[in-house]
Amino acid sequence: MTNSWTDIRNTDLAVVMGGNAAEAHPCGFKWVVEAKAHRGARLIVIDPRYTRTASVSDLYLPIRQGTDIAFLLGVIKYCIDNNKVQWEYVKNFTNAALIVKEGFSYQDGLFNGYDEQARKYDTSEWDYEIGPDGFAKVDMTLQDPRCVWNLLKEHVAIYTPEFVERICGTPRAKFLQATQMMAETSSPTKAMTSMYALGWTQHSKGSQNIRTMAMLQLILGNIGIRGGGMNALRGHSNIQGLTDVGLMSELMPGYLNMPHDNEVDLKTYLSTRQFKPLRPNQTSYWQNYPKFFVSLQKALFGAAATKDNDWAYDYIPKLDKPMYDVLQTFELMHQGKVTGYFCQGFNPLLAFPNREKITQSLSKLKWLVTMDPLDTETSRFWENHGDYNDVDTASIQTEVIQLPTTCFAEEEGSLTNSGRWLQWHWPGGTPPGEARHDNWIMAQIFLRLRDLYRKEGGAYADPILNLTWDYANPNEPTAAELAKEINGKALADLHDPKDKSKVVAKAGQQVLNFSQLADDGTTACGCWIYSGCFNEAGNNMARRDNTDADELGTYAGWTWSWPLNRRIIYNRASADLQGKPWDPSRKIIEWDGSKWVGGDVPDIAPTAKPEEVGPFIMNAEGTARLFARGLMKEGPFPVHYEPFESPIANPVNPKIRGNPAARVFADDLAQFATSEEFPYAATSYRLTEQFHYWTKHDRVNAVLQPEFFVEISEELAKEKNIPLGGWVRVWSKRGSVKAKAVVTKRIKPMVCDGKTVHVVGIPLHWGFTGVARKGFGPNSLTPFVGDANSQTPEFKAFLVNIEPTTAPEGK
């Protein structure tokens, strides 16, 4: 989230698209209800199904899954055509005025530089013209035909309300009604918030779904203000924390990124991470990258990381592929190239696509270790459960080791919520049986491995032998010790850069925050964006002051928010070029003539002059980007691409299947179906009564939603002769499931490109372990392909067939 859950109560218009906040985030959704009850805010829901969120909305619009980009580009076109643009914001705070290279072009769904064979673009022309002064060229009048604004205008021209209706199936009148409501928030005194979740991410173009709304929010001037923003509702408790501390194959803590194998030394690695400002006076905060990287190396390897050995750069593994995401790893497992797998708090047998492929892959492993508080399907993948897990146990040789762990309520530590708040919590119970904390298990594995390396040696043992492990009890580091390590400390006395005689932190003390980090080995910090969470003032994440000063909705004394306890990022953009709030009633920070002051930590240097320094300090331009340069795999502007399995050909260009830049493995391509074979458009989702595959182990949740079902329209039920509550078989080119039929008015057929499209809704909470009725997950059916940028699987749009059937075997 750019903002916070509590800030949503400040909005005038909540748009829930690509998510179902009431269903999947009922506690956070209270802030929408508050905004409605106390500000008169309106709620728009755009979804293939009439959801629980829709049930309390002011306006609901149906949309065919996988067509959000077309819809939103249609809204952008409307705003441009009808002068619903916050012009001062767009001109000064986005890259609308920057001039793009002549080599950049777009035609019929593809940009310049496409290599069809490799499914990749050469992105070198997707950038700005650089002037003789070394800065990007700019035309503040927006007259230059090559400025971002004019290219965008041209790019969105085809997305008329008629074209949107043809692609999305959304009735034109409703589209226009919603669009007008959104467009009204281009007023500097109106705010719209975008709330989205996996309904946008789980597509082969998920990142561009989100980007398109971000572009709209910039055009409306809704980023950085109270009640505005792009608000990702994270699907797991602490999934925000997972990405923040870099638990992704291509990331390091704090969104630093892993080196590739052609980056042979630190100098080469840092050479592409210098972030020289692209416009005069701009902050380009990533220029501090070396400080954060060197401090991380010092936290990891302590005295073994020295200037002479490039701060132990060689200790860090180098990627030979863009990333080793879960799809890539299971592809390699399927090929027999991954033979052992550690599965910590993860249930891939239900959580990853094409379950048959997952089962085959796990069956090829020599060993599988699961660490989980529950008896997961993954740890029982070898067990036969009739139709529910029809495997030949005798033929599976994988050795499975189950390590029972504690659950969140039995642990101390911090969880980072969607709003970037690190909230410390304490155990509410003692662990059952032999369950142990993950920290203890990981420590045992590490200490035993290190002993083996010490005794027996091995190929390049240095990173293991030199890893910092100075915890009071090496067998079980505490949450507080780890949090302090993440915050960082001074390794030598640190001096005030303005007054060298002043010591700001003594050697051994915690650093105040990342502003004190250095690239000379005098500081250690485990995750720079979290620096400040546990400093000499104590554990700031444990703070519980719920005072809401000036009723801003920031709750600055409640826990701690990264970065620097800032509650609204880009908050500099809430004020105009002179530093005065666009909307006085929505003031959050302002320029007092010499510095930035207000109710939130300014997202800009405190004395940066408002006319000079742009609000988007992480970008080298100082502005936000309507044109993404070379940073998005499928192009600098979003384009409507159909899902890989779609009921219609892409009206933009029928020859393009799926996202042209998405990675597709050869075997999986053969398993993508056409609408002739599989006529119905399926989607998957969560239900309030359950949480993923956990709560089916709990009796109360099992009572509230006991059994796997699929949802279909009354029209499809009639066509297929399916009774309410009857058994149906749903199958795709990759698998088959049996479910109860919920026949509902909440799903209605849509007409897209002249064709009737029926939606089949498939919730995801059932499996073959736990106390709820046995069932299946949608992943038995879904295609093995992910978003081109993040590799998040395409769970939200795929093709199936459906027929009435009898109860499964083993029920």
Partner: protein
């Protein structure tokens, strides 16, 4: 300042506060099958739970909290094609989200009307009036209608007496169960468990006066959104209720999964109550109660012929533990 006698708050999660413990025998104003009830020692402030259907997202946190607080064990049922689970109120499930899909003929839009069903805590409780067992059902001066299971004989008359079809008799212990309005929590200054669990403040609890004021604010908001018939459901036919609804379509309660449009206690039950007062039936067996009642009804000069016919129907069609 005097300590409050009821949790007075328009929010779902009142802080623990200094509080006069209450809902003891001295707070009872009505007692089933009892004539000589001592006058209450004091008059508690009437309380109410307000269920704002327009804020409800149907998450069932209320059901979950109800199960956990009351330590009940509802069965894990099958899916029968709907979101309502369990499929009905049971002796183990005192509250239930009922889901209704309604095509609004005026707007052409679908509305998904989700109503939390459960005991309405009527000011004139039909269950209490119908109950033949002394002290099995009581009403406190704050309006809560509570079942005392030690005194319950499992006859199921409370179900017949209830205009909302709420109580259910357990097949295990043959006693009737329903929502207590968390009388055990309210007695010590806490709101009901469902209200505490509700994430959107669709369920709030406080004095009836405060809840009516809150409802009035909500009705203004709903009218501003085009719900011209938005209103409070606090039906007069049962003397008002201590569980009230804010409805977007208060002119059509029945669209909310058959919420009674004009609930009232059957005249038969009124008559029956009169009989029990003079008969003192507590000690006699159920069969004897029925037989005696029949006889009494037949000759009672206070009872009209029509009431008599209703009474026969009422008693004959009623198996202990059964449901209509």
């Amino acid at each position: 300042m005097a300590l409050p006698d009821s949790p007075r708050t328009a929010v779902s999660n009142p802080p623990t506060q200094g509080f006069i413990e209450n809902l003891g025998p001295g707070d009872v104003i009505k007692r089933s099958a009892t004539t000589r009830l001592p006058p209450p020692q004091r008059e508690l402030t009437p309380v109410a739970k307000l269920i704002d259907v327009s804020k409800c997202i149907g998450c069932k946190a209320c059901q979950s909290a109800c199960v956990e607080w009351n330590d009940t064990h509802p069965a894990i049922e099958d899916n029968v094609g709907v979101y309502t689970n369990p499929h009905d109120l049971t002796s183990e499930m005192f509250t239930l989200m009922r889901f209704a899909e309604w095509d609004n003929p005026d707007t052409g839009n679908l509305e998904w009307l989700i109503r939390k069903d459960g005991c309405m805590h009527c000011a004139e409780p039909g269950c209490l009036e119908a109950c033949p067992s002394p002290g099995a059902i009581v009403q406190y001066s704050n309006g809560i209608v509570d079942f005392n299971h030690d005194n319950c004989i499992g006859c199921g008359y409370c179900i017949k007496g209830c205009p909302f079809d709420i109580p259910r008799v357990s097949k295990t212990d043959h006693k009737a169960y329903k929502c207590t309005l968390c009388s055990d929590r309210v007695a010590v200054g806490q709101g009901p468990a469902c209200a505490k669990a509700c994430p959107t403040k669709a369920i709030t609890f406080g004095t009836k006066e405060d809840m009516k004021a809150l409802a009035a604010e909500r009705v203004v908001d709903l009218k501003s959104r085009g719900y011209e018939n938005a209103g409070l459901y606090d039906p007069e036919g049962v003397g008002g209720t201590h569980v009230m609804y804010v409805l977007h379509h208060a002119d059509k309660p029945h669209i909310y999964s058959d919420l009674a449009d004009k609930p009232k206690v059957s005249p038969v039950v009124h008559a029956w109550k009169g009989v029990t007062k003079t008969a003192g039936l507590a000690a006699v067996s159920l069969a004897a109660v029925a037989a005696l009642a029949h006889g009494l009804f037949a000759r009672a000069n206070k009872v009209t012929a029509e009431d008599d016919a209703h009474a026969r129907e009422f008693l004959d069609g009623n198996e202990p533990g059964g449901r209509p």
